[in-house]
């Protein structure tokens, strides 16, 4: 009995490691990877061929190096990671959703067929054996005490993996990874290199699969294709799903329920005479049903992914923007104790993408107050009668030939036979709001996609602050300080509003796996104290303080727009392109947005705004560019365009505004 308990706990620890690895790929990165059990199997095979001796005929296999077990374990991890790199390089490049799953299913099948059929590799269906009680002899353990030692060894590794995962879960890297799962376009628009980050997570997860496989090989002392049936993989997926994807405690709970309880305890049941298949088949039916029912009724699992709850946001922030810093930083991570990090602040000041916290507090203050206390005349007046003066008082008076933030020359893009953007050239001045208007189908949105790198132009050049950026991928353009929004608001619905705002700043220093484990504490965590204060201020400024801990996906359309604006404020880019921010927005909210746009200018962000709401354009924009049929047909202050006949013909129409 006690032996049974030891073996079941050992197996639980090993499967726990595997499940935690899978959770990185499926839970956090969001890719349903069917190759995963292949990495476990490869780890097991590699451990065996590295530790056992040369094959004796008729057995055939590679290597047979008789290395120490711990060295072999490292070899197993490395080989699984390398294979994941190859598979990931192919599958993660363009494929998502079911296409990714199909290709990974293919990859695991290729591996399975090779292991089973190509005998010189791992001896085909006979498989490998001969790894008995590794490390046992060196430690002088007999066969009775060895299982206890091995259980301890597995639990030790399991606990180390668990600590690693806990750190990763609360780290900046973990947060950024989850943002990819939530919305890749938004993630790319805020500087994340999606392919690279997903690849990193994939290889990391697979490495843990290989580690689990290496331990599993020692536990079984052998491995062959029959230890690698689809059910082994399914039970691993069901464990992660049942416990709760993305929640490491949940994953461990899932392993306890599915593997220790359902899978193993049913081995005790006596056989039904005459029907030897009933018990194992029923077990697999139960596992399959659990998978189906959980997806239907509790897709988030027993312990759903936890979000970071910021208690000082709920408590409120005083008007001066000084957050009431609480010592309790939420249930998300108890070790989360942000401290002031001077290095961080000075680094932030150097970085072109982020403004220093001092600047953030100082510069938008007038706007902040204006936004908090609504100075609205009447909503009607706002929507219909634009203010006579353009609101550019807080800008220094600059000559009309101000240096350009963006210069577009001869841009051209076609889709099939449709020419969407046809020799489009314009410039947008630094420190100004430039409106981009034109009828539907004029090519405005395509032009934005081309400028921000989401689509590739056929020909043409784009200069952002003097450097050519055409052909760069979206994240590189974003990192240079050009950030765009989308026609329908995009964000990371599964993350909280505050997390959404925090993630607006791309942080190359900390968004790495390595830095989530090493370095100063605040470097591991998803935000430093300064960033957190800044994010709280911005969330409050946009009237979202009460919603700060809410998942962004639960917000209304208008609130999602505000979150989008809050992210821009946090990122403080040098140029922002807003794609129809007023779509479906009520007049009061519109006023708030107009003020926010002034705030962007005040914080040093030039603005290009695509909009059909002309009073709004007239109010906020100093320069207006009119596009029609893919080309720019006029440009200048709004007033000058009213009398421009081609603009009237193409867009404004004859009805006086």
């Amino acid at each position: 009995m006690i032996q049974y308990l030891v073996s079941i706990l050992t197996e639980g620890a090993i499967f726990g490691i595997m499940a935690l690895g899978l959770n990185i790929i499926w839970g956090w990165s969001g890719d349903f990877d069917l190759t995963y059990y292949g990495y476990v199997a490869l780890g097991a095979y590699m451990t065996l061929v590295l530790t056992i001796g040369q094959p004796t005929p008729p057995a055939q296999y590679i290597l047979g190096l008789q290395l120490p077990y711990l060295v072999a374990l490292i070899g197993a991890v490395v080989s699984s990671a390398l294979m994941a790199l190859v598979v990931g390089l192919i599958a993660l490049r363009h494929l998502r959703g079911i296409y990714f799953s199909i290709v990974t299913l293919g990859a695991v099948y290729v591996l399975y067929v090779l292991a089973g059929q190509y005998v010189p590799l791992f001896d085909g269906y006979n498989g490998l054996s001969g790894l008995f009680n590794p490390m046992g002899d060196a430690l002088g353990l007999d066969f009775q005490s060895y299982p206890f030692f091995f259980l301890g060894f597995c639990i030790l590794i399991f606990v180390l993996v668990l600590i690693f995962m806990a750190r990763l879960s609360g780290s900046r890297f973990g947060l950024a990874l989850r943002s990819l799962r939530e919305d890749e376009r938004a993630a790319a628009a805020f500087g994340r290199d999606i392919y690279r980050m997903k690849l990193k997570a994939y290889v990391l997860g697979a490495a843990f699969g290989g580690l689990g496989g290496g331990l599993f090989a020692a536990y079984l002392s052998a491995f062959n294709p029959s230890a690698w049936s689809p059910i082994e993989a399914i039970i691993l997926y069901s464990a992660v799903l049942v416990g709760g994807k993305g929640n490491i405690k949940g994953v461990v709970l899932g392993v306890v329920i599915m593997i220790v309880f359902i899978q193993e305890s049913t081995r005790f049941l006596p056989d039904v005479p005459g029907y030897p298949n009933i018990i194992p088949a029923t077990r697999e039916i139960v596992i399959g049903l659990v998978l189906v029912l959980f997806i239907r009724y509790r897709p988030q699992g027993l312990l759903p992914e936890r979000r970071y709850i910021d208690h000082s946001l709920q408590a409120g922030v005083d008007a001066g923007g000084n957050a009431l810093v609480s010592r309790r930083f939420g249930a998300f991570n108890r070790r989360f104790r942000p401290t002031r990090d001077r290095r961080q602040i000075s680094a932030a000041a150097d970085s072109p993408l982020s403004i220093s916290p001092e600047a953030a507090v100082a510069s938008p203050l007038p706007v902040l107050e204006a936004a908090v206390a609504p100075p609205l005349p009447s909503s009607e007046a706002v929507a219909i009668a634009p203010r006579q003066q353009p609101l550019n008082q807080h800008q220094p008076a600059e000559p009309p030939t101000v240096s350009a933030a963006l210069v577009v020359e001869g841009l051209y893009k076609h889709f099939g036979g449709v020419v969407a953007v046809n020799n489009c050239s314009f410039r947008a001045a630094k420190g100004q709001v430039t409106g981009l208007i034109g009828p539907n189908g004029a090519g405005k949105s395509t032009a934005i996609d081309l400028i921000s790198g989401f689509k590739l132009a056929d020909t043409g050049t784009i200069f952002f602050e003097g450097t050519a950026i055409q052909g760069l991928p979206p994240h590189r353009i974003s990192r240079r300080g050009l950030i765009r929004t989308f026609q329908t608001p995009r964000g990371w619905p599964g993350l909280t509003v505050l997390e959404n705002v925090l993630l607006a700043q791309w942080d190359p220093e900390r968004e790495t796996i390595w830095r989530s484990l090493t370095g100063a504490k605040q470097a591991q965590h998803m935000a430093s104290q300064a960033e957190l204060m800044q994010a709280r201020e911005i969330v409050t400024e946009f009237g979202l303080a009460k919603l700060g801990n809410e998942r962004a996906g639960n917000l209304s359309g208008g609130q999602k727009r505000l979150v989008e604006f809050a992210r821009i404020r946090m990122a403080a880019p040098r140029l922002v392109i807003l794609d129809e921010p007023m779509g479906g927005v009520n007049p009061v909210l519109g006023e708030r947005m107009a003020l926010a746009i002034e705030g962007f200018i005040a914080a040093g962000t030039s603005v290009i705004i695509v909009e059909h709401n002309l009073p709004f354009i007239e109010r906020v924009a100093q320069q207006v560019i009119v596009m029609a049929q893919g080309a720019v047909i006029a440009a200048g202050p709004f007033e000058s365009l009213r009398s421009n006949q081609s603009v009237i013909d193409a867009y404004l129409g004859e009805v006086p505004l």
């Binding site: 299913l105 293919g106 099948y109 239907r296 897709p299 689509k455």
Partner: protein, 293 residues
């Protein structure tokens, strides 16, 4: 040259079976946007139904019909009891795909309980091979090819010319818009799955007939090839899928005949990986797909 023709002949038989399985899979996908990983089990159940009916009646024709109708009922049940409910309650296509994987396991093991896990021999006298044009086929193989062609023609008529076919295409293009215009998407979905099940059940029968043995897992391994064919042709597009199936079927028979039959599946996926990377939307569309475009 003769050997090439012989292999091509086998390839066409494989292609015929594969194209039926793949077109059924792609029809299921077209109306629900769900890749049904339990599709292979419809074939398996069809094969078992044919076997049982054939044993009790001794009539191949009734067995074939029984396989087809059983397949239709199973697919209809899958759609009504599981897929449609999942889609309606807002569970995403990806999560539903995982659920169908669970369902596939449930069905396999239900079959294990009823019929055991061992191979069932299903040998129908195939008759002497005959020369048909350049190919050498047994009468059974000829029947397989002719019936596949007839079913394809029938599907073509249904999808292209009937009101139902029009509704089906509308649901595939835009489910919500189709519903707004008064199409009962649920009914169209159910009918399409039933139709797909009829085809898949029959495909299970002819697959069992041509292989000679089967077990509860046999549909699943054939499903992996089906998936290759469907994606190669273009998911959701019935006739491109069939064209993809013909190409994959023949390619498999050649790799099987000239390299090694054991690596057939591995080759199928190698083909699939290349196709997906070069032509993610299938062989017959020109659109290049990137993450953002």
């Amino acid at each position: 040259m003769n050997e090439v023709l012989l292999t091509l002949g086998f390839g066409l038989v494989t292609a015929a079976i594969l194209s039926l399985s793949a077109v059924a899979f792609t029809l299921e996908y077209a109306v629900t946007n769900v890749a049904n990983l339990a599709h292979g089990e419809i074939l398996t159940i069809g094969a078992y139904a044919a076997f049982v009916i054939h044993q009790s009646t001794g009539n191949v024709l009734i067995a074939a019909l029984g396989a087809s109708i059983t397949g239709g009922i199973v697919a209809l049940a899958m759609h009504t009891l599981l897929i449609e409910r999942f889609v309606r309650s807002g569970i995403g296509a990806m999560a539903t795909l995982i659920a169908t994987l669970g369902l596939s396991f449930v069905l396999q093991n239900v079959l294990v309980i009823f019929f055991g896990a061992a191979n069932v021999a299903y040998t129908i006298p195939q008759g002497a091979p005959q020369q048909v044009g350049p190919f050498l086929w047994t009468p059974t193989e000829i029947e397989i090819i002719i019936s596949a062609l007839c079913i394809t023609a029938a599907l073509y008529v249904i999808i292209t010319f009937t009101r139902f076919g029009k509704a089906l295409r509308a649901v595939f293009q835009n489910r919500d818009l189709a519903r707004v215009t008064g199409i009962n998407a649920r009914l169209v979905g159910a009918a399409t799955w039933f139709l797909a099940g009829l085809v898949a059940g029959y495909a299970g029968f002819i697959l069992a007939e041509s292989v000679g043995t089967f077990n509860p897992y046999f549909g699943f391994s054939f499903f992996l090839i089906t998936l290759t064919a469907a994606v190669a042709g273009g998911l959701g597009k019935p006739f491109s899928t069939m064209a993809g199936a013909v190409i994959v079927g023949i390619a498999l028979e050649f790799t099987g005949g000239y390299i090694s039959a054991s690596y057939e599946l591995a080759f199928a996926f190698a083909i699939l990986a290349i196709i997906i990377l070069v032509r993610p939307r299938g062989l017959f569309t020109n659109a290049r797909r990137t993450i953002f475009e």
